[in-house]
Symmetry: C2
Subunit: 450 residues, 2 copies
């Protein structure tokens, strides 16, 4: 596509082809959304399983919302492939939605951004004016740092053969009000016409409003800052959940009282922060700022507080069991829920994992009840996964880790029979204490005096 | 008053006398509010100047809202005195609204809470069932720790002769929407009937709603947590204001972009945090938590970030002046605004003060233009105070410290004539850059690349 003022006409006529690279929990609903909005869509994923499922008209992921809207067959308006080269030449706009995890050393791992970019630029035609948009979370500067050398290596000239842009995904897994069709978006692009064209394009995807914010780096920074702010506010309530019990006070009573103030932000303390964004994105900014010699003490401190929560909870377990004349070293501990948040099966960066590691290091045997978690991603070396309530083995203490409906609505009377003295620790502050106590449970609460 | 179920009847009939100890920016509007709500009011302040003004029907403070509503003379329903003993015996409920500053070592300074409490308890009659409410910001446990020994020393029995409660003030100086008649309140009291009675009493003062939250300590903690959260969120944007310029990015563009997200909290970076609450209250919690062995790294880190801002700005001034071939060591620096926030005259804990100290230590001469600041509280050893634009002396760089309307609306053309090369640093991000540049100003912005 030559980049000129025909873009808006072609947009209005839905005469544009949108490519999506990476068909995971962001890319797939995005591809289906643009298809529904009337555009031709090309989807690429390097995982054969994903493409095979889509070719068969089946849902490759775990979000049931997609079951009925995946096209049953390929057509001019819907094609999928594992090979970028097959489909990229069709596309006017290409959205790259690949994962950006952190390495074991908590440094940004940009290999998927690089490999997807290289594959795209190798397939983009010279003079096509293709727009390539990164949606993955990065730190300010990444889109250009990683992609400029790759597009040059492919013989392309930025601003002529290809235009770069950044439009961070803001999808909230498991939250139907904040899916790709609802969330507000921001677009950063060095070329204003490209930025405004993308704004209008994304406006057909979402009802939440789209803002062109100028430079690529501003949009990159905005995404990181959103998650850093969330991490910080959660870290504060987690730090308070460590302070107030020592003073004989339940942190939740305090936060409820403070929340009567008009400008208070109500966050909830918990076993820890998980998922693909909040526990990951801050490291991207920390790394970039450190390298530039800028101060990051506060952001680093927040990350440390949240990261310490599973270990803190493990220590609480030893204290509680000790108070019941039990030893953690030969205990059986039941984790209720393993996914990083309620209602979904995603275990990425779940605090359940470091919790299980800490408990295991103290000598405990760990079993997990979670009917939702993706069992392909469950670390069977750390814990036994139990899918049905009946299959739960006898235990010494239960820890509510993830507030799945299937956990909150368990048969608590029946569960209590699997323990000599049923003890539970509510790590999410969601349980009905009175009800549990009436069934004979001894209940402990995260953030309340033990 | 015997504490019984007649309280609600007497409340409904406005047959209660409310005492207010400390008639400052919280106590005076509270006293006037209860008077307006139909109660008899007794006001005590240890400062003779305050009482003399009130006796003459004059406003002792700087809030013009009070000018017309201060009673012109004393009566059965309105009496003021410097002496608690004169008025406390009249009162059914006594509200203590004295300052709780921090010492030079940033430890809580509770001497006013103690002296006001002692004076009240000495004057409370045995068997009176007087309710004594602390409104000053403290840390959890203070009301009982400080007052219980004092009331015992006065021969009173808590829960019989006297009831204790805590109801934090949440007044926002200069914000007409969040005055004592509008803000939501919380009440903590060990006696539920007292707590609910106070809830109903405060409900006549404010339209914002009043919640009885149970224990004294919960209400005490809530107030501190509100300000700690605010301090933390401001510290985050201040840290970001240090990071992004190093990366070539303007922090305000990033925050504007992030603020398009539905759950982002928009705070603004600045020269520093001032006032009687946010830069003070966190130390109360830090001290209490440290003493109890609880972790406070995050809260402490936030405080450090905000406290460092004036020093950071001073360093920026040296850099900027250097870039203009000027040296800070023999410069004249004009601070625009001194009060800790816009629209008020209160200089307590203003960041202007450590800024002036840092600039002075670098050899600069400092003058301040502020038509609002209370000149009795202005430290003339640190800077010259100028009240009228015409009296401003020639300067090398101006720093916008406080966004008073009188500052933003200055005659910028005229001001520019007082400098060879007019340079301004906007420490609050409130100035119209284009307008200033058109007048020949060289403009620098806090949080943007210099």
């Amino acid at each position: 596509m030559g980049w000129d003022n025909t873009f808006s006409k072609r947009l209005a006529a839905r005469d544009l082809t949108v490519g999506v690279i990476g068909l995971g929990y962001v890319g797939l609903p995005t591809a289906l959304g643009f298809l529904d909005a009337g555009f031709s869509v090309r989807g690429v994923d390097v995982t054969q399983r994903v493409i095979s499922a889509l070719e068969a008209g089946q849902n490759p992921g775990d979000d049931p919302q997609h079951d009925d809207i995946i096209p049953s067959s390929q057509s001019d308006s819907w094609k999928v492939s594992t090979n970028s080269a097959d489909l990229v030449p069709d596309c006017d706009v290409i959205l790259v939605t690949v994962p950006t995890p952190v390495t074991e050393e908590r440094l940004p791992d940009l290999k998927y951004v690089a490999s997807a970019g290289a594959a795209v630029f190798d397939a983009v035609a010279k003079n096509s004016g293709t727009i390539v948009v990164l949606e993955s979370t990065v730190y300010p500067g990444v889109t250009r740092e990683i992609w400029s050398p790759l597009l040059e290596a492919a013989g392309l000239v930025e601003g002529e053969d290809v235009h770069l842009a950044y439009c961070p995904e803001r999808f909230v897994p498991g939250d139907e009000e904040h899916g790709v069709r609802q969330v507000a978006r921001v677009v950063g692009a060095p070329n204003k016409e490209v930025g405004e064209g993308l704004r209008d394009l994304y406006d057909t995807l979402t009802t939440g409003g789209v803002t062109y914010v100028g430079a690529l780096e501003v949009a990159e920074a905005a995404k990181v800052v959103e998650n850093v702010q969330r991490d910080l506010n959660i870290a504060l309530v987690n730090e308070l959940a460590r302070i107030f019990p020592v003073l004989g006070i339940d942190v939740e009573e305090v936060l409820d009282a403070a929340a009567t103030k008009w400008n208070f932000h109500r966050y909830r303390p918990g076993v820890g922060v998980g998922g693909h964004c909040i526990p990951v994105d801050p490291y991207y900014l920390i790394e970039k700022a450190r390298a530039a010699g800028a101060p990051v003490e506060l952001i680093t401190s927040a990350r440390a507080v949240n990261r310490a929560m599973p270990e803190n909870v493990a220590k609480d377990m030893a204290t509680i069991l000790n108070g019941h004349e039990l030893s953690i070293s030969d205990s059986n501990i039941l984790l209720l829920g393993w996914s990083y948040k309620a209602g979904i099966g995603d275990p990425r960066e779940t605090p359940a994992e470091p919790l299980a590691v800490a408990l295991g290091a103290m000598g405990a045997t760990v079993q997990t009840f979670d009917p939702l978690v993706d069992d392909r991603l469950f670390p069977t070396d750390l814990a036994t996964l139990v899918r049905a309530e009946d299959d739960i083995s006898p235990f010494d203490i239960a820890i509510l880790v993830t507030a799945h409906d299937e956990v909150i609505g368990m048969d608590w009377a029946k569960l209590s029979e699997k323990s000599n003295q049923p003890i539970i620790y509510d790590g999410r502050r969601v349980l009905n204490v009175e009800m549990l106590e009436s069934l004979g449970w001894c209940v402990y609460l995260l953030g309340a005096p033990l």
